[in-house]
Amino acid sequence: MAILLVAEHDNETLSDQTAKALSAASQIGSDVDVLVAGKGAKAAADAAAKLAGVRKVLLAESDALAERLAEPLADLVVSLAGDYDTFVAPATTTGKNVMPRVAALLDVMQVSDIVEVVDAKTFKRPIYAGNAIQTVESTDDKRVITVRTATFQAAAEGGSAAVETIDAPAASDLSSFVENRIAESDRPELTSARVIISGGRALGSEEKFNEVILPVADKLGAAVGASRAAVDAGYAPNDWQVGQTGKVVAPELYIACGISGAIQHLAGMKDSKVIVAINKDEEAPIFQVADYGLVADLFDVLPELEKAL
């Protein structure tokens, strides 16, 4: 039977996390439909229709779906369940919020954060902050899956699927949207950046963080990440956190500055192609995963690095 991929988008643009989750979905089976739920989201639906491997795009629009709150979106997915046996979403905060609700309504045990498709019912997923990889086989009639997108290539463009408008279920009064506090930024997104530079507790203040990390990021066209310690201390916003409970990233180049390398941080970045660590403690565990380590004071070497680029 067919697969329904729940798209990640912000109504205007389709996130490349959708294209990455599509690659995983296409490894599970060939009949993949994409659900774009939102409001004023035609452009995102058109973008999904252009991805190679999409059979058709379902566009559902309503006020209740505008912010993709879990309650109405889960109801919508469940209302379509008769036509599908597999439900896939990228493991974004939206996917993580909605899909377990779908799974419970379908009486299915979700497979979270898959990093590999073994076959249509068998998947690999990290547990214990990536310290172990489990291979699990689902025995349910239907499967609900979230995809850790860092390990899948984005599906290419080249498709020309039809966009079909479908009805949205009636709004539920369980929850309502108040506001988004989303920082506008010209930098690339962490989850799709080619280069990431991250700062840790060593930065000491928001001012210092901005003063030494951001110029290097600008030179490199890099996204900016942070350790939990840096976020907790208010040096960086929460959506910059990389790790077990933040974002999982796999850029070509990851530069960790003043980050010790706790397992929870490594869980979010150890699949990067090349890792650089700058730390003044040569015993810091981050050096055990770094391809290039520089034992130095970051306040000395980051300005130097910025000039050298």
Partner: protein, 249 residues
């Protein structure tokens, strides 16, 4: 109003888990165990609600082996009023945990259930959302702030792009993110007092749930290792290596 706080006993967050040589799982014997950090945050949040006069009673519940009593005693020592152990020696998947918790919620009738956003052993991040679905309640996941006022909870959620604020009709499910609060340590007198607080023992069957895994674990293995590379002596050398050896600049 009453708050229900499900707490899970897991490997201590500071211990590096070891995969068993035969690939059957992660070594749990003789390993330090503790309350899941996100559940500590959930207990703390409930206590703060009680301290603010918005909540009368906090009930902690854990599903697991006899030893999970220790985790419940920790919750009681922090400030929970009573505890329920739903005893089972089987590994219980989030869907069954949610079904058992639904049974507990049907009996206890809390107005809010605060769970951790994820258990750091299975890293599932599912149970709260599933419980919300089974109860037909609203959900505020990954919370970094919760405000209660007349029949509603305003929840600030940590989302990929920043923060999202939603308003939930009570009863509701909240799951905690790291920055919701900093959990307190239980003081020695409170640890002593906790020994006298009520702890009920139940079984999954008491809630009509037969624990049955839906996911067959075929194998548990070490992740592909990563070897330490080289140390460079200067910024110039680093830039040279990144350009000419790694080809990433």
């Amino acid at each position: 109003m009453k708050v229900l706080v499900p707490v899970k006993r897991v490997i201590d967050a500071n211990v590096k888990p070891r995969v068993k040589a035969d690939g059957s799982g992660v070594e749990l014997t003789n390993v330090k165990m503790a309350m899941n950090p996100f559940c500590e945050i959930a207990v703390e949040e409930a206590i703060r609600m009680k301290e603010a006069g918005k909540v009368e009673e906090i009930v902690a519940v854990s599903i697991g082996p006899d030893k999970a009593q220790e985790t419940l005693r920790t919750a009681l020592a922090m400030g929970a009023d009573r505890a329920i152990l739903v005893k089972t020696d089987d590994a219980v998947e989030p869907l069954d945990v949610a079904k058992i918790l639904k049974g507990v919620a049907d009996e206890e009738k809390p107005e809010i259930v605060i769970l951790g956003k994820q258990a750091i052993d299975d890293d599932s991040n599912q149970t709260g959302q599933m419980l919300a679905a089974l109860l037909g309640w609203s959900q505020g996941t990954f919370a970094s702030d919760v405000e209660l006022s007349d029949g509603k909870a305003k929840v600030t959620r940590e989302v990929d792009g920043g923060l999202q604020v939603v308003e939930l009709k009570l009863p509701a499910i909240v799951t905690t993110d790291l920055r919701l609060n900093e959990p307190r340590y239980a003081s020695l007198p409170n640890i002593m007092k906790a020994k006298k607080k009520p702890l009920d023992a139940k079984t999954p069957g008491d809630y009509g749930v037969e624990v049955k895994a839906r996911l067959n674990v075929l194998k548990t293995e070490e992740p592909a290792g990563r070897k330490a590379g080289i140390k460079v002596g200067s910024v110039a050398e680093l830039v040279d290596k990144l350009k000419n050896e790694a080809g990433v600049l």
